[in-house]
Amino acid sequence: MIAGMTALYIFMLAAFTGYEIISRVPVILHTPLMSGSNFVHGIVLVGAMVALGHAHTPLEQLIGFVGVMLAAGNAVGGYVVTERMLDMFKRSKKGAN
């Protein structure tokens, strides 16, 4: 059970982690990284699956179904788009001059 102070500690440490990751990023990676973090919150898929998995009434099932569908879209779309962007960052073979 994650509750009370434990939850607060997790929130705090995770928040610092996110801040640190971004603060050292070169501008050229801002859009890919935004896209990458967009992919990472696709983890909402796990929660949507659990919500649908525990749904009983048809209404709950319907909302759960939509939730899983949206979440899968977030995760898959986020990944595809980020990968496509990052694929382009290849260093020039001949060197700068």
């Binding site: 997790i10 995770a14 928040a15 973090s37 699956m49 919500a51 694929d87 290849k90």
Partner: protein, 455 residues
């Protein structure tokens, strides 16, 4: 089994953080997204074994449907349209967080009021992010170009926000979420998201999308607490804080505060000071411009979003290669908000195979301009306007700009004599060392290439 599930979630949280960390350097970025992807795969697969689960068929169909559509759209979207795709996928995540909350509210088996309150908070944030992101998508897609504004809009929106927070708080205090009230709560939250995004102009959209991205992360973290899922809590919070910082960085690069983006539209400054600039614009033809560049020692190319619109990046790459072969030192100056988001221009140039080590950001390139023989400005306007440095009464005063005017010669490729999106007259175009090359970006760069080749 429970232990294996918990360990898997732990592993995926670690993979997310390490993946994001790797994504923060160009060298390791490609590996980073794969690591995060593995984390997502592990977490998703293990969730099928979560205790007491039903509706497996529905679940599989939903994943196949949502994932399939996203795969299809994500693969075929053009690089110039990336910002709105991010907005769309982000909105879906926010909607999913809202859906989780809706199911949990209907089931109403919360262990304590804290759980109920966080479920409601997550639902509010997620729903706002959902509807707001969809509006942002529609706007960037060009479906709803004109920002909606009417007198008292801000008060209307504030009322809407207070109402949704109020109804949410009432739900939490009451402890018995009834159908009608829950419906009203979601309707209010969704309406607020729409109304929040509608007045915002296209140029400010990236900041807003980034903000919605952070909000979705936060919503996911809250719902993760409700479901007691550590992977969701950690990943959501990391995105929430990283997204907030990124939003601030973007707003700062545009010399706008997040508050002014959200509550005051750019258009309101537009009429105030267009600023008169003396002198005249001096045209040049492509042949002369080509000769100038071919015999220069150092050339700096300053691309703007106009270059991407004209699809000139591939021609620019050709030009760069040609000049480099002649021994000219070619660099690219990338303003933080060139393109539509920080880093968007880099992606567009990378797509055209321009080596990323030729790209320099504002702080790196500005000291080099006085030693630059030719600065070629293509499709950029406000970000090279020296007025931002010199004239305190200009609306863009104080915005960090590229000091292109300090180069020995400046060539500006421009379609016509119009102004940038801020509506401010550009003093650079009237400088003595500036020559205007009028025409379509792609066609003009093509002519430059011809001119240099025929030397």
């Amino acid at each position: 089994m429970d232990n294996i599930i918990q360990i898997s979630y732990f592993a995926s949280a670690v993979l997310f953080i390490l993946g994001l960390k790797r994504m923060s350097s160009p060298v390791t970025a490609r590996v980073g997204i794969v690591w995060a992807g593995v984390g997502m795969l592990v977490a998703t697969l293990i969730t099928f074994f979560y205790p007491g689960m039903q509706n497996y068929l529905l679940m599989t169909v939903a994943i196949a449907l949502g994932g399939g559509l996203a795969l299809w759209s994500g693969k075929r979207v053009a690089m110039t349209d990336m910002p709105q795709m991010i907005a769309l996928y982000n909105g879906m995540g926010g909607g999913a967080a809202g859906a989780i909350a809706a199911v949990e509210l209907l089931r109403n088996e919360f262990p304590s009021t804290t759980f109920l309150a966080l479920a409601i908070a997550g639902a509010l944030i997620g729903s706002v992010s959902f509807s707001g992101s969809l509006i942002a998508f529609a706007k960037l897609q060009g479906w709803a170009r004109k920002p909606l504004r009417f007198p008292g809009l801000q008060f209307f929106n504030l009322g809407l926000l207070l109402a949704s927070v109020g109804v949410g708080a009432w739900l939490a205090i009451q402890g018995e979420p009834a159908g009608g009230t829950v419906l009203l709560f979601f309707a209010l939250a969704l309406a607020y998201g729409v109304m929040m995004a509608l007045p915002i102009g296209g140029a400010d959209m990236p900041v807003v999308i980034s903000l919605f991205n952070a909000l979705t992360g936060l919503a996911v973290a809250f719902e993760g607490f409700v479901l007691q899922n550590p992977a969701m809590i950690i990943a959501g919070t990391v995105v929430g804080s990283a997204g907030t910082l990124l939003t601030q960085l973007m707003a700062k690069a545009m010399n706008r505060s997040i508050g002014s983006v959200l509550f005051r539209a750019f258009g309101s400054i537009e009429e105030s000071a267009a600023g008169e600039v003396g002198g005249s614009m001096k045209p040049i033809d492509a042949t002369d411009a080509g000769v100038m560049m071919a015999y220069a020692e150092r050339v700096v190319i300053v691309p703007g979003y106009g270059m991407a619109v004209a699809q000139a990046q591939h021609k620019i790459q050709e030009l760069t290669e040609l000049l480099t072969k002649r021994g000219v030192d070619v660099k690219f100056a990338i303003h933080p908000v060139a393109g539509r988001m920080p880093g968007h221009m880099n992606v567009l140039l990378a797509e055209a195979n321009v080596p990323y080590d030729l790209l320099y950001d504002l702080d790196e390139i500005n000291p080099a301009f006085p030693k630059t023989d030719v600065a070629l400005v293509i499709g950029a306007n406000d970000v090279v306007n020296p007025v931002a440095r010199t004239s305190p009464d200009s609306p863009i005063y104080g915005m960090p700009i590229l000091n292109v005017d300090q180069a020995k010669n400046v060539i500006v490729i421009k379609r016509g004599q119009g102004k940038g999106f801020s509506g401010v007259e550009n003093a650079l175009f009237y400088e003595d060392n500036t020559r205007m090359l009028y025409g379509d970006g792609q066609a003009m760069v093509g002519e430059l290439i011809q001119a240099i080749k025929s030397l």
